[in-house]
Homo-oligomer: 214 residues x 2
Amino acid sequence: MSVYKKISIAVIKRLPRYYRYLSDLLKLGITRISSKELSIRMGITASQIRQDLNCFGGFGQQGYGYNVEYLHNEIGNILGVNDKFGYIIIGAGNMGQALANYTNFEKRGFILKGVFDVSSDLIGQKINGHEVIDLNNLETFLKSNKVDIAMLCVPYDQTPIVADRVARLGIKGLWNFSPMDLKIPHDVIIENVHLSDSLMVLGYKLNEKLKNSQ
Amino acid sequence: MSVYKKISIAVIKRLPRYYRYLSDLLKLGITRISSKELSIRMGITASQIRQDLNCFGGFGQQGYGYNVEYLHNEIGNILGVNDKFGYIIIGAGNMGQALANYTNFEKRGFILKGVFDVSSDLIGQKINGHEVIDLNNLETFLKSNKVDIAMLCVPYDQTPIVADRVARLGIKGLWNFSPMDLKIPHDVIIENVHLSDSLMVLGYKLNEKLKNSQ
DNA sequence: TAGATTGTTAATCGATTAACAATC
DNA sequence: TAGATTGTTAATCGATTAACAATC
């Protein structure tokens, strides 16, 4: 086994943010940046930036800082933006349609392969160039299409059922939009987007602010 | 000033999750639970549960555990589910419409007051019982409606402009769906939902798994 | 009462920040 | 070269876990 240093999830979660800031710098035509300058822009410490980056390698140069384009590429590689994951969307309601129209995902290496639903009102309709497919045809579809990720935008009670079904069909990653913690007994990576959790945290913070300003 | 212990954001972020699990227990008709039993269900330590809860008060009873309904209510109060925040949605595209149809928010104390857009195709259309209002009428609307939170579902380049505008109109909280970190110079609480960041973390984890299984 | 389980203090672990030698 | 800034080690801080006395 190779010498393997486990990268903490705290670091991983900051990578997309670095990537965004570096994209912005590129657009601004800024070619080099120091950890100090970036720390001011991002509102974190320069120390943390250097520590984070050095988990993956020495991307900078003493006395100079970091080359923006190079660092942007390196972080892109770490995040796998060139790796091309295929994904499907299950559930073509508003959330599913919103995701199907997110063009940003493709820039980051995620390719939409199909959109599925059970409703005959939706099946056959075109969403962002993709005809909604009958969920009954999922098995057939997955036999002839390389799909790594399923985004689950189905009703609450359907979520665990659909999750289990796609996991058995070889899907390796799930992006879950239902307000539940999926526990499926397969070797699948799950990333939850708990919107109402996020909103409740906002509500808590608002209440705190109101209390303190009284 | 009162003796005030600052609650860490790590604890706050776990509260909605406790709330969900307790709701589930209630639905299952379970009336009491120990930190041990809950820890198994949630996949965290019993110690952490007790520590978290004791930031806010002693909700349990030695030898017995926690009364599910009581604890559910207490956490609900901490999160302010009875406090009734008014919110508006700005941008009635797919994401805005998806949010307008989320009935869960109301159960948690968030009341939809209005949906806004600039597109004449959308203005006047009904979404979940709310007629889409011309964004030009925002100022007038806010004069006669108590609104605490704005959910921003507008295009990338419009986001900071709209954020600034609503902040000046007295909105206290922003729920931001654009892939940028809002920096507005007002006393406003911002909660970001960076969907592509979340997806990229999923992509990273998938790559790691593939590497390790080779 | 005896058993169970909390509330809370103490120990450990991990993440962030500070400091500085290395070096461009 | 002198100045700037990284890479990296050490110190600090905060969060999680363990332990146990208190008590229902």
